[in-house]
């Protein structure tokens, strides 16, 4: 848990708002495990570390308890309050805590609290006269919370199979030494000239190369579908990760020899991009809704 939190913080602090690649895990060969892990605890840990500069070990101890025990009753209380006072900030608070609950659990566990909430909603709706209005409020709350957390549960659900296969594959990779995170030529070894390696940023590696046509190259980071390789801004197809290429990013250079600018970059998959867009739009709409209600009353 500590290493996950540390890896999460590292990726977050480099500007990745939704950390999905743990660069230093697996001896530096990286891992996509963060896509699967519920991020709430990691976000809290990262915030505490940033604010108080406490070690991740201590933070893990501070956050030892099950956050669900706090969030779940809070959600129920807010849903109950919504029955009596349909105030917008109750609604926003309910969305906030429902969101926290989603982000603190694996998608497989959602069934339990979704079922509980649904039963609770039904029970509450039965007690009021304006049933439709309350039902619609709960529906809006439900949709808002799930849309807001799409950045997590959508990739975690749709890419789960791929991540599990990735995790299985890398277990079999005979990687014992820390990754040097370098590019090596598997063919034409002596003819490849490394002209310049761009400054080492995060999840982006740039090389200026002079190399023969169709040279097989390998980058010492585990291959996951988020990794993409571009030669002179043109994407190239990566080899399927297997035992032969040790599950590392392996590819062949273009059929033209000479100077090339190579970029190896971790980008969002289509699912992740869609999920993030849903999250951003929902967040924007919720804040706008707050503005709508807040200023509607006072202007």
């Amino acid at each position: 848990m500590i290493s996950y939190m540390e890896a999460f913080y590292q990726t977050l602090s480099k500007g990745y708002l939704f950390p999905r690649w743990a660069s230093e895990l697996n001896n530096g060969y990286g891992s996509s495990i963060l896509i699967l892990l519920p991020p709430l605890r990691n976000y809290l840990g990262a915030s505490i570390h940033w604010l108080c500069q406490i070690s991740f070990q201590t933070i893990t101890k501070i956050l030892f308890f099950n956050l669900n025990l706090i969030i779940f009753p809070l959600c129920l209380w807010l849903f109950y309050k919504l029955k009596h006072k349909a105030k917008y900030w109750f609604f926003l608070l309910a969305v906030f805590f429902f969101t926290a609950l989603i982000l603190n659990n694996y998608p497989a566990d959602y069934f339990y609290f979704v079922f509980s909430f649904f039963s609770f909603f039904l029970w509450l709706t039965q007690q009021v006269k304006r049933k439709l209005k309350l039902a619609l409020t709960y529906l809006a709350l439900f949709i808002s919370a799930f849309s807001l957390t799409a950045f997590y549960w959508l990739p975690a659900t749709l890419e789960a199979k791929e991540i599990k296969s990735f995790l299985n594959n890398i277990k079999q990779s005979p990687i014992t030494k820390p990754s040097p995170k370098v590019l090596t030529a598997l063919t034409n070894t002596e003819k490849v000239e490394f002209i310049y390696q761009h400054r080492p940023p995060f999840l982006w590696y740039g090389y200026e190369l002079n190399l023969p046509a169709n040279t097989r190259l390998q980058f010492h980071v585990f291959n996951y579908s988020g990794w993409q390789v571009f030669f002179d801004s043109q994407p190239v197809v990566l080899e399927k990760p297997d035992q032969e290429n040790k599950n590392l990013i392996t590819f062949t250079s273009p059929p033209t020899a000479g100077y090339h600018f190579l970029e190896i970059v971790f980008e969002k998959t289509k699912v992740q991009a869609l999920a993030d867009t849903i999250t951003f739009i929902t967040l924007g709409l919720l804040i706008s809704y707050a503005g709508y209600v807040y200023f509607q009353k006072r202007v």
Binding site: S13, K14, G15, Y16, L17, F18, H198, R199, P201, W204, G206, F230, S233, E263, V265, E267, D276, F280, G284, I287, S288, Y289, A290, G291, Y292, V293, Y294, F295, Q296, R298, V299
Partner: protein
């Protein structure tokens, strides 16, 4: 007693606390030396060259005589002059060039805060002014401009933006000619501070004009509108000496067309995620895939006020008022600026290339979200009253400041000890330009061994009398018919007078591309090489001068002018 009352009034005033807060931000600059950044070295060298030319009597310095390995460079002709005038003033007072540039950074930041607060207070009141000023001064991109890019011009222009808005506001309220003249001067100052920022300011300024038009009384509207039309005209006329050569000569005689082709803009689009959040850093601008080294985030609080304002716009039941229109226009500008920073806007680039190609980097558009959000923040505050208003301001201001505290820092300072005034004037060999304004006729990559030499023929007794930025005076004796090479980069405006006679210059010699070359007959010769104005520059100077004089006359005789007299003030 008087001192005590002054002390009390100072400590009671909000502006004092804003000033102190802004001073805290600048703490890293209060050290000797220079900090490592993208452009600081270039700005100091440019200031040194500017000052030298100014001290030699050139009221409008246009030729950096010591730059470009001593061959000279026209960078001063095309770069915004006002920050350099201010820097020259500080140097004149006795500060080194390094310290003078730092003082320009410091004073412009502090005064920007003061003017923003005063304008917003005058227009909307105390609390909107506080939030507006905080959002204006504490936008992450402002710190990028200071500590990462050291973008002197862009940073300096932020000083005049509130002045432009304030003077226009005063004019719309009073319709007095003195306010009109002030607004023209502040617009001119903005144009002379940075040619890019004025372009980004225009849409926001236009929205403000629309707002002021609808909020001013009907009796004043016609005169307000006429004043605004002439305001632009006068502002442009006052600054022709700067922008006319920039638009015409830069395209004709330098590599600017090739350099500002728009490629760099298209290579530096940002990702939406990074507009929401990106950490503080000191790297360069984003490339095709590589995220920018410096932060490109708009600011959490800036995002928040924009989205709250978006909600405010959905008020169907109420009548649409000028405030609604203004916020609507600001929101449109805000989202359009975001759109044009993203790759998805690339299909529209050819349509707007004439604007964006000069921006060079997409991240430069980050100025626009600042200009829109600080106004939105102030306007939203204005809609609230009492405790709620105070809470809104306190809450947002607190977070706007706190969330940027990690941005108030420089990288370790440059330890080089040879950054003295003498270094900038005599040993600096660069051009301070990234290549865009290099004359098309040739590049120089090494200093010349002599100032004057004979390419063909023989000369002796070379005696250099003066080697100023724009005047080179020397004599020599030509033993035979000679072809003289003077170590000066040619640019339109250079003229050579041999024994008082103007002679033709060749500047396209194969062995000395871009260098001034001329022929002389045998005998003793006195030579004067002068960098003077071209017809275009002279015309532009005259227009600026006439406009300046007319504006002064207007200011002096404003009370006697009839045009403004029939306005009834409430």
């Amino acid at each position: 007693m008087l001192a005590m009352s002054i002390f009390k009034s100072v400590f009671k005033s909000t502006i004092f606390y804003i000033f102190i807060l802004n001073l805290l931000v600048l703490k890293p600059l209060f050290k000797t030396g220079v900090w490592l950044s993208s452009d600081l070295i270039a700005h100091i060298a440019r200031l040194a060259s500017f000052y030298q030319s100014l001290a030699e009597g050139n009221l409008i310095p246009r030729w950096g005589g010591n730059l470009n390995f001593g061959y000279g460079h026209p960078v001063l002709l095309f770069s915004y002059p006002l920050p350099n005038y201010f820097g020259s003033f500080f140097h004149f007072l006795g500060f080194s060039f390094n310290e003078s540039v730092k003082l320009v950074f410091i004073f412009s930041y502090l005064l920007a805060g003061v003017f923003t607060y005063l304008w917003l207070k005058d227009w909307l009141g105390k609390y909107p002014a506080i939030l507006g000023t905080i959002l204006y001064q504490f936008a992450p991109y402002r710190f990028v401009n200071i500590y990462v890019r050291a973008a002197l011009g862009e940073h300096f222009a932020f000083l005049f933006i509130p002045l432009v808005f304030w003077s226009v506001y005063k004019f719309s309220q009073k319709i007095k000619i003195k306010y009109w003249v002030y607004s023209v001067f502040s617009l001119a100052a903005l144009i002379l501070s940075h040619n890019g920022v004025i372009v980004y300011t225009l849409p926001v300024l236009f929205a403000y004009f629309v707002f002021l038009f609808f909020t001013s009384s009907k009796s004043k509207r016609k005169k307000y509108l006429t004043g605004i039309i002439f305001y632009f005209f006068a502002g442009m006329c006052l600054t022709t000496f700067f922008w006319v050569p920039l638009l015409v000569e830069a395209e004709l005689y330098t590599n600017s067309l090739k350099f500002f082709s728009g490629n760099s803009y298209c290579q530096t689009y940002l990702s939406f995620d990074r507009l929401v959040f990106s950490p503080w850093g000191y790297g360069g601008t984003a490339t095709r895939h590589e995220p920018a080294g410096h932060t490109t985030m708009i600011g959490f609080v800036h995002w928040l006020v924009s989205l709250l304002a978006l909600g405010y716009l959905f008020k169907w039941k109420r009548k649409i008022n000028p405030y609604w229109i203004f916020i609507f226009l600001l929101i449109i500008i805000f989202f359009l600026s975001l759109f044009f920073m993203l790759r998805i806007s690339n299909f529209l680039f050819p349509l707007f290339a004439f604007i964006f190609r000069y921006a060079e980097y997409a991240s430069r558009l980050l100025t626009l979200p600042i200009l829109t959000t600080f106004l939105i923040g102030a306007l939203l505050t204005n809609f609230l009253k009492g405790r709620k208003q105070r809470f809104f301001v306190l809450f947002l201001s607190f977070w706007a400041v706190i969330l940027t505290t990690s941005f108030w820092q420089t990288v370790p300072w440059d330890k080089r000890r040879d950054y003295t005034d003498s270094y900038w004037l005599h040993y600096y060999t660069g051009t301070t330009d990234t290549g865009g304004y290099n004359p098309v006729w040739g590049y120089f990559s090494a200093p010349s061994t002599t100032k004057v030499l004979a390419n063909k023929g023989e000369i002796t007794n070379i005696n250099i009398k003066k080697w100023h930025s724009t005047l080179h005076e020397y004599s020599f004796k030509a033993i035979t018919k000679a072809r003289i090479v003077e170590s000066t980069a040619y640019f339109p405006g250079w003229r050579v007078y041999v024994d008082g006679q103007k002679i033709p210059i060749n500047f396209q010699e194969k062995d000395f591309p871009g260098t001034i070359i001329y022929n002389v007959s045998p005998g003793e010769h006195k030579v004067k090489t002068i960098f003077g104005p071209t017809r275009l520059r002279l015309g532009a100077d005259i227009v600026s001068l006439i406009t300046f004089v007319l504006l002064l006359i207007l200011l002096i005789f404003s009370k006697k002018l009839r045009w403004f007299k029939n306005i009834k003030h409430k």
